[in-house]
């Protein structure tokens, strides 16, 4: 049990290495099977780990047995395990979709995919801020290569912007880490929280500037308003399974914001408490509005879905900024829902564009799709879920979000923005759907039918939405538990640093 916490990092890494070795590497079928089976095994392992963490509380693992404030540690609490489960679930769906033929359009699809999953899992599990940077780079370098998978002008152009922006982000990340290390003397997240609590007044401004630089980095990863310009172009030009996996990448930024500004600059941080909230709330709301405007003004379906990602990012950032246990729980449930549904929408967009000939996924009248009933109903389900219409998970997610806003001033603002933008999203999606499926001009339907594996992948991701509704009771409990654990920094500190260290630090 103890060592199982390393599995979400080691398993994808070893799988990637195995796929690159001769007996597997030379056969496309073998590559696919190894990749798919490994993802399925990983999903089972992380669910076991989640159940263990849920029952026995936080689990931490000192790498090389170097104890906490000095060595690097991995921490599995309910929040990070839920997100790791989400990643594994999503990765399995995306790999299945990619295995239907997309993976042969370029080289090293499966190894890169596994490396990216490793980076994502590592970023969720690490308990050390510098290690978070390292895992960010692991997932980023894999994502750079995956982004230009299958080549093409648009992809190269989007990749140049994406790489330059993220390298700048990494530089800022390192600047802020150096400032924080220089003042606090540690990079272990829990230990930093304790050092911030007893910070001498002369270091206050330095730590504040370091903390706010971290906010810039995470906001760039999450694509919050002034830093979101890279997202629509990048996500809409990436190939479908890659775009589906990218749906979880913005959530890593959100997770990091949640972790850093609750644990390090949380309730005990004195004057630094909640310093990011003043920036994140307006930025989040503006991102929602901009995303919704993007949804109704997109000329192609993939860009529309990329703008839906922006809407969900804005919503989540606004929730993080509220800084309550309730809002964190709502944000977690909504993260799971929005990631899976937007990923499914990216895959559906690809299926539709494959069957419409030259019109592809542009919102103009074009050839009829080959499988109107199948694609239409999948689109309908995904659109209803993402817009937040009643029977599906979007509705419950939005309800939790709206209920989590307790302050009257915030409530008026947030309810108005979220609900108005939901309306815009519904308008945008119904316009897109009616154009894609009903505005048919000339030519009979001809084109490839969707491969069974592709349909399975889409259904796998969409299935999550009804499941999130059916098991809404236990899942909301789980997310509330995760939020409670996130805010309970004392217990985490005692578990990770040991009781002696906790007492010793208080002067």
């Amino acid at each position: 049990m103890w060592h199982l916490i390393t599995a979400p990092i080691l398993l994808p890494m070893l799988t990637a290495l195995v796929i690159m070795l001769p007996p597997v590497h030379y056969s496309p079928m073998r590559r696919r099977w190894v990749s798919m089976i490994s993802s399925a095994v990983q999903l089972v392992l992380v669910v076991i780990l989640l159940l263990h963490v849920q029952q026995n509380g936080l689990l931490h693992y000192a790498i090389g047995n170097w104890q906490a404030p000095f060595g690097i540690i991995l921490v599995a609490d309910t929040l990070s395990m839920v997100l790791v489960c989400l990643t594994s679930f999503l990765a399995l769906g995306a790999i299945c979709y990619g295995s239907a033929g997309e993976d042969e359009k370029g080289s090293f699809f499966h190894p890169l995919f596994q490396f990216q999953v490793m980076g994502i899992n590592g970023a969720f599990l690490t308990g050390d801020l510098f290690n978070l940077f390292v895992f960010f780079e692991v997932l980023l370098i894999a994502s750079y290569a995956l982004l230009i998978h299958a080549g093409g002008k648009n992809k190269t152009k989007a990749a140049v912007h994406y790489v330059v922006l993220n390298l700048t982000g990494s530089a800022i990340f390192l600047f802020s880490l150096a400032v924080l290390y220089g003042t606090l003397g540690t990079l272990n997240i829990v230990d930093m929280a304790q050092k911030v609590a007893v910070l001498p007044a002369e270091d206050l401004m330095l730590v504040k500037s370091g903390g706010l630089m971290l906010m810039i980095v995470f906001a760039l990863k999450a694509a919050v308003l002034p830093l979101q310009f890279w997202l629509p172009a990048t996500y809409s030009s990436a190939s479908a399974p890659v775009a589906a996996l990218f749906a979880v990448m913005t959530k890593i930024g959100i997770y990091a914001l949640l972790r850093v500004y609750t644990t390090i600059f949380g309730a005990d941080a004195g004057p630094l408490q909640g310093m990011a909230a003043d920036w994140l709330l307006p930025a989040g709301l503006a991102t929602i509005v901009l995303g919704a405007i993007g949804v109704i003004s997109s000329h192609d379906f993939r860009k529309l879905v990329a703008n839906l990602v922006l809407v969900s990012v804005g919503t989540l950032v606004a929730m993080v900024a509220l800084h309550t246990e309730l809002s964190a729980a709502a944000a977690l449930y909504y993260t799971v829902h929005s990631t899976l549904v937007t990923a499914a929408l990216f895959l559906i967009a690809d299926l539709i564009s494959n069957q419409r000939g030259k019109a592809a996924d542009r919102l103009v009248s074009g050839r009829r799709v080959v499988q109107p009933i199948l694609l239409g109903s999948l689109f309908m389900l995904a659109a209803m879920a993402v817009a937040g219409l009643p029977p599906l998970s979007g509705f419950i997610g939005k309800l939790m979000l709206l209920q989590a806003v307790t302050e009257p001033a915030n409530r008026a603002l947030l309810w108005a923005v979220i609900l108005m933008c939901s309306l815009l999203v519904i308008v945008g999606l119904s316009r897109a759907g009616s154009t894609l499926f009903w505005r048919v001009s000339g030519g009979d339907a001809s084109g490839d039918k969707a491969a069974p594996l592709q349909v399975f992948a889409v259904c796998w991701l969409l299935l999550a939405s009804p499941l999130l509704v059916i098991f809404a009771g236990p899942l909301t409990e789980l997310s509330q538990q995760a939020a409670a654990q996130l805010y309970d920094t004392d217990t985490a500190a005692r578990a990770i640093l040991g009781s002696a260290a906790t007492e010793g630090d208080v002067p």
Partner: protein, 117 residues
């Protein structure tokens, strides 16, 4: 020493940011490299600057903080790999898009087309 070190970091950052705001991929790349040099020096300084400070126990009276040195090493390796990737990507972009502008098209070429119409 502190003044010299700080001004070095400041100057490198200034050059880095200036070059990163240029329109062609090569200066942008140089700018990122400059910025990563500045970052590396900055991380190094976060362990405080000491003269004759050893990082190994039992070799001197005064010790330097070894952690920033480890951090800087990691940052150098990662920064180097990323720069190498960016160089290859920039060459590919030059081939795919036909020019080395970061936006994939030259702004003056666009203007000239409009005028000739």
């Amino acid at each position: 020493m502190e003044t010299l070190f700080a001004s070095c970091i400041g100057f490198l950052t200034f050059c880095g940011i200036f070059l990163m705001l240029r329109g062609r991929t090569f200066p942008v790349m140089l700018g990122l490299t400059m910025l990563s040099y500045a970052v590396n020096l900055f991380i190094f300084a976060s362990g405080r600057l000491t003269l004759r400070g050893a990082a190994v126990l039992g070799t001197s009276e005064q010790y330097a903080d070894p952690l920033p040195q480890a951090l800087v090493l990691t940052a150098i390796v990662i920064g180097f790999a990323m720069t190498a990737f960016l160089v290859i990507l920039a060459i590919r972009a030059r081939a795919d898009l036909g020019n080395d502008h970061v936006d994939g098209k030259l702004p003056d070429a666009d203007g000239m087309k409009r005028e000739s119409r």
